[in-house]
């Protein structure tokens, strides 16, 4: 008879697994993360997790949180969606983000705008430089065609079903999912409008976001939809967040462009009326 053939044996077996450490998992509490960023006290950490390639995660973050995404091994691709946690019908608007700021590419000081002309988050540091606001995330059918499978339970999960799962766990439905951003695997537009895939900037690159409105953050770490490599290639993504301070009028991001300044003013107007700041 095996040791798990009885309730007592099965219980002991299950409990004996506690404390197992693997390469991709959350640290809970986040303060137990082994290697906090320089200058950040361990107890300030609110999210510390390594997401496997093909995995997803989500968290609600407070205003003033700094969120650092790191491409540990050089083949992560962090697909991101943001929603106002106070009213998730306000959400990331990629079209406004690129149009209002007159730039199709993501980088330092870019504000991630909502459909209500407010700043959900700001990119405050970027050592990657190869990101994408144009192609969104991958689909089950697309991944099935390219890799033979796009399902969440398979070897090459697509981003859309992972976002659908992460959204559902925050009470959101498929129709709440707008086009997303992706970090660490870039695309550039050619003069004829064609897209060139630039790939990754390399291992160890990171992007820091500053959360400006309490936000639901959805992350899927999956191969970019126009990644031309024949194999599903995506490596682990490190996610760290800690208490910091939001953008204020004396921050360089506030006045980075006239459009960003009005977006921060709109945000302050909303937060003041809402009693959040």
């Amino acid at each position: 008879m095996s040791t798990t053939a009885t309730t007592y044996g099965a219980r002991d077996h299950a409990r004996a697994q506690a404390g197992t450490v693997v390469d991709t998992m959350p640290s809970i509490p986040a303060s137990t993360w082994a290697d906090p960023p320089a200058g950040v006290a361990p107890e300030a950490l609110t999210w510390a997790e390594t997401v496997a390639g093909g995995g997803y995660t989500h968290k609600v973050l407070a205003r003033g949180t700094r969120l650092r995404l790191t491409d540990v091994d050089g083949d992560a691709c962090a697909h991101l969606l943001l929603f106002n946690a106070e009213g998730p019908w306000e959400r990331l608007n990629v079209a406004d983000t690129v149009k209002v700021q007159w730039n199709a590419y993501l980088g330092e000081s870019v504000a991630l705008l909502s459909d209500q002309a407010r700043v959900l988050a700001t990119i405050v540091a970027d050592s990657g430089g190869r990101h994408d606001a144009l192609c969104g995330t991958s689909t089950v059918d697309g991944n099935t065609e390219r890799y033979g499978d796009g399902s969440p339970q398979g070897p090459s999960p697509a981003g859309l079903p992972l976002f659908t799962l992460a959204a559902a766990k925050n009470g959101l439905e498929p129709r709440d999912l707008p086009p997303s951003l992706s970090f660490f695997q870039g695309v550039r537009v050619q003069p004829d409008g064609g897209l060139e895939f630039t790939g990754s900037a390399g291992a160890g690159r990171s992007v820091d976001l500053r959360i400006e409105i309490p936000s639901i953050v959805l992350l899927a770490n999956v191969a970019h939809p126009v990644d031309p490599r024949p194999d599903y290639t995506v490596s682990k993504l490190e996610v760290l967040a800690w208490h910091d301070r939001p953008t204020t009028p004396d921050s360089p991001e506030w006045t980075h462009t006239p459009e960003a300044q009005r977006a921060f003013e709109n945000t302050a107007d909303y937060l003041t009326a809402r009693g959040i700041a």
Binding site: V94, N103, L134, C135, G136, P178, S180, L195
Partner: protein, 211 residues
Amino acid sequence: MSTAYESQLEVSFDVPARAPFSTVLQQGQELAIMDLGGNQAVDFLCYDANDTSKRYSAAATIAAQRNIFLTTGSVLRTQEGAPLLTVVADTCGRHDTLGGACSKESNSLRYGQHTRHQHACVENFLIEGAKWGLGKRDLVSNVNWYMNVPVEADGTLGIVDGISAPGLEVRLRAETDVLVLVSNCPQINNPCNGFDPTPVRMIVISPGGGE
């Protein structure tokens, strides 16, 4: 009316400057959108008429065709990648799907708070979408027929003077039953309409004379 379509014509409707429009196309039907005055942006969203949770995705469309511009041969896709409409003819040359719709809110960022009370495309989409049970959560990045949005090498992007002219036309074939929402863009602060919104014509065609 375009005489070329007379035998196949189902509906022809002129959408006034600044106004919304919507219709359902049956699979196989075609919709011609004619720029009557020239240089008029036509903001456009589409949905699977039998399941509006399946809706246009600019990102999926761009990723599938590996190009940001829409023209003949472009397939407008849902976020799951399924084809909704195919561009079967285009006498303009290219169309935008990066810029999305103007809104009272985004106008406050682009031009200043003094534009906050101007009518905008999102208002048209909300009003027209409500007739079909659609709300704000159903609005996503859209197509802008006739709008010219180039991207420079450094990523600089913007709406510039149009390349359209009176009488130019884009024609779409429905790949399934498709609900179409249109905002005949009211924008007066940028060159997408030459600073002067004008009417556009919607022509529904049943090739072969209909069912």
